[in-house]
Structure formats: structure tokens, C-alpha cells
């Protein structure tokens, strides 16, 4: 292949080999070499957004994840979440499970990785990925977890002193036969839950909660999904502090067509955050 490339290059002389004929050595930019030296950090900085939302985040027009949640915009690039949540986002591999498929030549083993990400301050995500290598599975699962980050509402058990530490009200989530019920708990109770949902709740940033589950919790898939569903519902529950009518704001796509800043938008966001506190 190299030989043929050389011959053709000879035919064309200096005309330029065009596309599909190998890299342009003569310009000497050495993109491949330079990036190999830089290592992983360079790749992350060189995120080139592919979606419109990604471009808005990269420009810095969207500053918090809540703006995206407010308008239910689909997040397709995990770098968006990384940029918005920053270094507080921690991830942990919950389990690596080898799964096998029977083939004529023996078993083909792949590894399934379960990763939970969260910033300990109201955002959690869970990702599952199966791959031939452990490292690839973990990387893929982290990306999927970041894409599935949801907001979690916290409230108080009694006096509204300090930061919110528990769920705002009794909520229940259901998946399959498993129902998980979360009940507000006083400070210092800690997370009273089974091992697996306890981990998820820790990442969510809930400090105290009583839980009660029912159904076949042995089916961990349903169990974790039920706790997720429960956490999702914390923001779906209408409490008296949310009785005020919402003033609809423009979506980030519409907002930046005009160069005027919209003061009403800021007020609404502050309200929601203050009410939690």
C-alpha cells in the first residue's frame, strides 16, 4: 500500500495527493504525534461540540444544569455535564460482572460495569456498559452515567435550620415488583437503607432518610431503578411552597437570539433554590 502510494505520488508530482491517499506529510503538522505526547488531558480540553446544546455550553451561555432541566432539553454529550458540574462530579464503579456467551469455540467473556456518578449535592446518574475489556466497559459506563444525571430535591424533617438534609416528603418509587418508599428522617439518622440504594443516595447528597422496600428486592435492577424513580419524584411532588404560578421563560436556544439579558429568568431560578433552603 505504501509502495502504490509512492508510485501514484510520483505520477502526480507535487499536485497534492488529495483525500484518501494518506496524510499530508509535507505540511508537517504532525497532529497524530503531537496528540500522543499530550496524553489524555488534551483530548478533554479539545472537546468540539457536536450538538447545538453542546455549542451553547462551550460558549458559556449556559451556566448551570438547572437551565437544561427547566426546559427538558435532551443532553447527548457527556462533556456538557462535566463542564457544568465540574470537579465535584465523582464516580464509582459499583460492580464488574463477567458475563459469558456460549460459542462453538468455548465461552466468550465480556465484562459488565455498573457505575454511579454524583456530585453529592443533588445530582445522580447511573450507567451500565458491557464490553470485552474491563477498562472499556468502565469508561463507557461512566459516560452513560453522566448522560443520565437527574436532579434530586432535598428538604427538612423539622426545623428549617441549616442546609436541607433529607427528602422533602414521603415519596415512593416503583419498578417491576419493587417499591421503595423514602421517608424524611431527623438529622443524624443517616441513610437507613440496603447497601445498594444507600450508595446511590449517598451520591445524591441525601444525608438522612428512612427507607422501606417491598417486593423482590433481590432483583437489583428493579431495586436500583425504583430508588431512581423515587428520587426523580422528589421534584415532581407539589408542595405548598411551589404554589406560586410559574412565569415561563425562554429556552436557551431562544434566549440568546436577543442580546438583552432577561432578569425574570434569574428570579425564578433563585426562588426554586431558596425554597429548598
Amino acid at each position: 500500500m505504501a509502495e502504490r502510494g509512492g508510485e501514484r505520488g510520483g505520477d502526480r508530482g507535487g499536485f497534492g495527493r488529495g483525500f484518501g491517499r494518506g496524510g499530508r506529510g509535507d505540511r508537517g503538522r504532525g497532529r497524530g504525534g503531537g496528540r500522543r505526547g499530550g496524553g489524555r488531558r488534551e483530548e478533554e480540553e479539545k472537546w468540539v461540540p457536536v450538538t447545538k446544546l453542546g455549542r451553547l455550553v462551550k460558549e458559556g451561555k449556559i451556566r448551570s444544569l438547572e437551565q437544561i432541566y427547566l426546559h427538558s432539553l435532551p443532553v447527548k454529550e457527556h462533556q456538557i455535564i462535566e463542564t457544568l458540574l465540574g470537579p465535584q462530579l465523582k464516580d464509582e464503579v459499583m460492580k464488574i460482572m463477567p458475563v459469558q456467551k456460549q460459542t462453538r469455540a468455548g465461552q466468550r467473556t465480556r465484562f459488565k460495569a455498573f457505575v454511579v456518578v454524583g456530585d453529592g449535592n443533588g445530582h445522580v446518574g447511573l450507567g451500565v456498559k458491557c464490553s470485552k475489556e474491563v477498562a472499556t466497559a468502565i469508561r463507557g459506563a461512566i459516560i452513560l452515567a453522566k448522560l443520565s444525571v437527574i436532579p434530586v430535591r432535598r428538604g427538612y424533617w423539622g426545623n428549617k435550620i441549616g442546609k436541607p438534609h433529607t427528602v422533602p416528603c414521603k415519596v415512593t418509587g416503583k419498578c417491576g415488583s419493587v417499591t421503595v418508599r423514602m421517608v424524611p428522617a431527623p438529622r443524624g439518622s443517616g441513610i437507613v437503607a440496603a447497601r445498594v440504594p444507600k450508595k446511590v443516595l449517598q451520591f445524591a447528597g441525601i444525608e438522612d432518610v428512612f427507607t422501606s422496600s417491598r417486593g423482590s428486592t433481590k432483583t437489583l435492577g428493579n431495586f436500583v431503578k425504583a430508588t431512581f424513580d423515587c428520587l426523580l419524584k422528589t421534584y415532581g411532588f407539589l408542595t405548598p411552597d411551589l404554589w406560586r404560578e410559574t412565569r415561563f421563560t425562554k429556552s436557551p436556544f431562544q434566549e440568546y437570539t436577543d442580546l438583552l439579558a432577561k432578569p425574570t429568568k434569574a428570579i425564578i431560578l433563585d426562588d426554586v433554590e431558596k425554597l429548598d433552603a
Binding site: R8, D11, R12, G13, G14, F15, G16, R17, G18, F19, G20, R21, G22, G23, R24, R29, R31, G32, R36, E43, K46, V48, P49, V50, K52, R55, L56, K61, S72, L73, V75, K76, M94, K95, M97, P98, V99, Q100, K101, Q102, G106, Q107, R110, K112, F114, V128, C130, A135, I138, R139, L144, S148, C175, L220, G221, N222, S251, F253, Y256, T257
Partner: protein, 463 residues
């Protein structure tokens, strides 16, 4: 994975792989005689059990005695996911075979390097026409929906050395800047009658043999002395893209490709300049005029100009296979959670999400790429979405020679980021633009032949 500890016995070539957690497990074996194997297995198992404390499950395994069977709790045999696994395997195989050239945009060191006699590959700005005289006709240069002349997106210099007639070969991509037209275009591309198609995205192919009336047969020397063999046709002075056939009525100097551009130019600057030009040029020769008037590109809405540099995709592969060193601490539980398998359905997503994830994984090797080029029969474009893909029947035949079309290159949405396209609700946005060109790269009476374009828009379904 723990190293296998071999059970070396002369009678059978049996490898027993011992996992600390689960005990001995037989992975490979070359069976000389089944009886011998069975005996060896039993002997080995008993040996192990004497040394360590084992649960009675092993004895049960012995009684069933299939060499390939494993303890069910720890490791599962996937039966439901056969199709998914096979699909994944097939995808990997396909992608490995063909080598893809990636295009990256860079600011040119000197804008003069992007003139047409140097055969550049570029994006944005004005096109460097290969054949400067026989430019595309009036009908083919406008958007089929709004009637505006199309704007230049990028051009790729892609010669084919096997044929004489394709010594020089350029592919030009034009598109209408309005998103509304692109949405209507989506309906059009599904219709299978290319002669009657009106599109808002068009790809033109132009090819020349080595000896042609426009350029010298010698390669350009790149030392500043190169120039084309002749002048090209006069171009519109608003867009600088299309042929300026119409002339301004009063000064007779400014040329336009369409009435719309004349109106735009008149409103912005020409109203004032027109009289001045009339006055100064009244006495000069008419033959002088074309050379003395520089090509003014008055439009401010053209996309910024870049050069496209190509690199092979395989040169980025070494980075991808680096082992992850930050995830060495695994939290593995002793007991087995068999039903984690059910999480697969819930969290791994549907078709669209999976194709998006594999698209992201592929471009993550080189996130700045804007163009993927692969002119191979086996080549398949990298689709971001699973919905909106053409089947083989959707791709028509070449409208000039009737031969089949094959995938040549695709444009990726990173280009929008480099062009600085605004992110309003109605601004341009696509997931990928795929160009299919005539496999035989046929000759036809027109100099710029239209090829088939497929645009995939990003769906707004949430992940």
C-alpha cells in the same frame, strides 16, 4: 484476569484456570479421550477440595460433568442478548477493514494558498472552482424551496489516479443557510426520483485530465509564482460564488448571479458606489474592466474560510487502546447479583442511543474532525442516529451514466462549531451530511455534475 494454573497431565492437555473467588474452572482443553478427561477432572477437583474449603456446589458440578459448564451463580451465559452481541461484533469487523481519512479545519497561513490553481481542499469562504468557465447553471445553483442561491460549504480535492480523465477531481458542497429549507429537504431526499428532486443541499463533482486548457500540466511549485493558465468567468460580486451573468444596469460593471444578490448589494453599498463607478470608468476601455475590478465579496454572511487537512484515522488508534489507570480499585462484592442483567434493558438504551454512543466513541479518537472520507466499495458512513438512514433502495442511480452510486465522504457537525453558526432555535444544525458519488466517476456534457446527498438531522428525543 488471574493467570491460569495449568494442570499438566500427560494423558490430557487440560488447562484449569483457578479463580480465587470461585474455585477451579476449566476453560480450555484438548480432549484426547473423554474418559481420561473425566478422570482427570475428578482427580483435580478432589485435590483442590482437600486443600481448601469448598462448598458442596463443586460436587454437584462434578456429577453433571460437562467440561464447559461453570458455576451458575458467578458467571452467566447470555441467551437473550445474542442478537445484540452479534450486531456489535459485526460492526467492529466492518469498521476495521477500511481506512478512513479524516479532515480537520485549520486557518490557512496565507489566503493566497487557497486559490484554485493550487487545488486546495477548503471550507467556507468562496469556492475555488476547478473548471472556472463552465460553472453550474442557473437552475442548479438555487435552493429548491426558497430560490436563494446556495452558499458554499466546503470542497474536497479527491483525485482518482486510475483514470486519465480524473487526474484532477473536486467535490463541492453547497447548502442553503435556512433551516426551514433543510427541514423541507428532508422530505425530498426520501423521494426516489432524482431527476425531479429539488434540494437545498447539493454536491457537485468536477474532473479534468492532466492536460487541460485551464491549468498547466506541471505541478504547482508553491513558491508564489504559480498562476492559472487563464482567467475564469466573472463571478457575482456579492457572494463571489456563482457566475455573474447579470450586470448592473447603471454602471455596467458590477456583476450578479441573481436578482436577490443585486438587491442585497444595492441596499448595502452599491447605491452609493454605482454613480462613482460610472463617472470614473466612462472613458476607459471595456476590455480593461474585468481585470481592474477586484473580486469584491461584499456579503458578510459567508462562512469563515479554512483549509482542510487530511489525516488517516488509524494514526489516532494508539491512543484509544491505552489502559485506564485510574480505575484500578474495583468494588466487587463477594456474593453474586444475578439479576443485574436486567439493568441492561433499563440503562443501556434503545437503538438511537446506542448508535449515538458508538458514533461518539468513534469520533472521540479525533474530536476535531469535520470530514470523513473513504472511497471504498465496502465503506459505510458513520451514522449518528439509527433513524433516518437510507436503505440501498433509497440511493438512486447516477443521473448521467445510470451506474450505481457509492459513499464517498460525510460532513460532521463539528464544522458548525468552527463556522461559529449561531445557536438559535431556527439556525442551521445537522447530524451529518453524506455524499454519494458515481462509482465510475463518469464524464458528462456538463462540467459540474450533481451527485446525491443525504442529510441526517439530529432527533430531539431525550437520552
Amino acid at each position: 484476569m488471574p493467570l491460569p494454573s495449568t494442570h499438566a497431565c500427560e494423558d490430557c492437555l487440560l488447562l484449569v484456570y483457578t479463580d480465587i473467588r470461585t474455585g477451579p474452572r476449566i476453560l480450555f482443553g484438548a480432549v484426547l479421550s473423554s474418559f481420561l478427561i473425566v478422570d482427570c477432572v475428578i482427580a483435580y477437583m478432589l485435590e483442590e477440595m482437600e486443600m481448601e474449603d469448598k462448598n458442596p456446589n463443586n460436587l454437584q458440578d462434578l456429577s453433571s460433568l460437562r467440561i464447559s459448564s461453570l458455576e451458575e451463580e458467578e458467571v452467566e451465559v447470555e441467551e437473550d442478548d445474542y442478537e445484540d452481541d452479534e450486531e456489535e461484533e459485526e460492526e467492529d469487523d466492518d469498521e476495521d477493514e477500511v481506512s478512513v481519512a479524516l479532515g480537520f479545519v485549520e486557518k490557512p497561513k496565507n489566503p493566497r494558498l487557497l486559490l484554485r490553481h493550487l487545488f486546495p481542499s477548503k471550507a467556507g469562504g468562496v469556492p475555488a472552482w476547478l473548471d472556472p468557465v463552465n460553472l453550474p447553471s442557473e437552475k442548479s445553483r438555487v435552493c429548491g424551496f426558497c430560490g436563494e442561491p446556495l452558499q458554499f460549504l466546503l470542497q474536497v480535492y479527491a483525485p482518482i489516479s486510475e483514470k486519465e480523465s480524473t487526474f484532477h477531481r473536486m467535490l463541492f458542497v453547497f447548502m442553503c443557510t435556512s433551516m426551514a429549507c433543510l427541514l423541507q429537504d428532508q422530505h425530498e431526499q426520501w423521494k426516489r426520483r432524482p431527476e425531479t428532486q429539488c434540494r437545498s443541499v447539493k454536491v457537485f463533482r468536477c474532473q479534468l485530465p492532466r492536460s487541460n486548457p485551464f491549468y498547466s500540466s506541471e505541478p504547482p511549485r508553491h513558491d508564489g509564482t504559480d498562476k492559472p493558465s487563464g482567467d475564469g468567468a466573472a463571478l457575482c460580486c456579492w457572494c463571489g460564488t456563482w457566475k455573474g451573468e447579470k450586470v448592473c444596469g447603471s454602471c455596467k460593471k458590477a456583476r450578479y448571479c441573481s436578482e436577490k444578490h443585486q438587491v442585497m448589494h444595492w441596499r448595502s453599498a452599491h447605491k452609493v458606489e454605482c454613480r462613482q463607478i460610472c463617472a470614473t470608468f466612462q472613458t476607459s476601455d471595456s476590455s480593461h474592466n474585468q481585470r481592474t475590478l477586484p473580486l469584491m465579496v461584499s456579503s458578510k454572511t459567508l462562512w469563515p474560510e479554512y483549509e482542510i487537512v487530511s489525516e488517516d484515522e488509524c494514526s489516532f488508534d494508539t491512543e484509544a487502546s491505552e489502559a485506564s489507570d485510574d480505575k484500578s480499585s474495583l468494588v466487587s462484592k463477594a456474593e453474586v447479583d444475578e439479576m443485574f442483567k436486567s439493568l441492561l434493558d433499563k440503562f443501556e438504551g434503545n437503538d438511537d442511543q446506542r448508535s449515538w454512543a458508538s458514533f461518539q466513541g468513534r469520533i472521540a479518537k479525533a474530536p476535531e474532525q469535520v470530514l470523513r472520507y473513504c472511497r471504498d466499495v465496502k465503506a459505510k458512513p458513520l451514522w449518528p442516529m439509527s433513524s433516518g438512514r437510507p436503505s440501498n433502495a433509497d440511493i438512486p442511480k447516477c443521473s448521467y451514466c445510470g451506474g450505481p452510486l457509492c459513499f464517498e465522504f460525510q460532513v460532521l457537525p463539528q464544522l458548525l462549531y468552527y463556522f461559529g453558526v449561531k445557536n438559535d432555535i431556527d439556525s442551521l444544525d445537522w447530524a451529518t451530511i453524506v455524499a454519494y458519488t458515481c462509482m465510475a466517476s463518469c464524464e458528462a456534457s456538463v462540467s459540474y455534475k450533481e451527485e446525491f446527498v443525504w442529510v441526517q438531522l439530529s432527533s430531539s428525543s431525550p437520552i
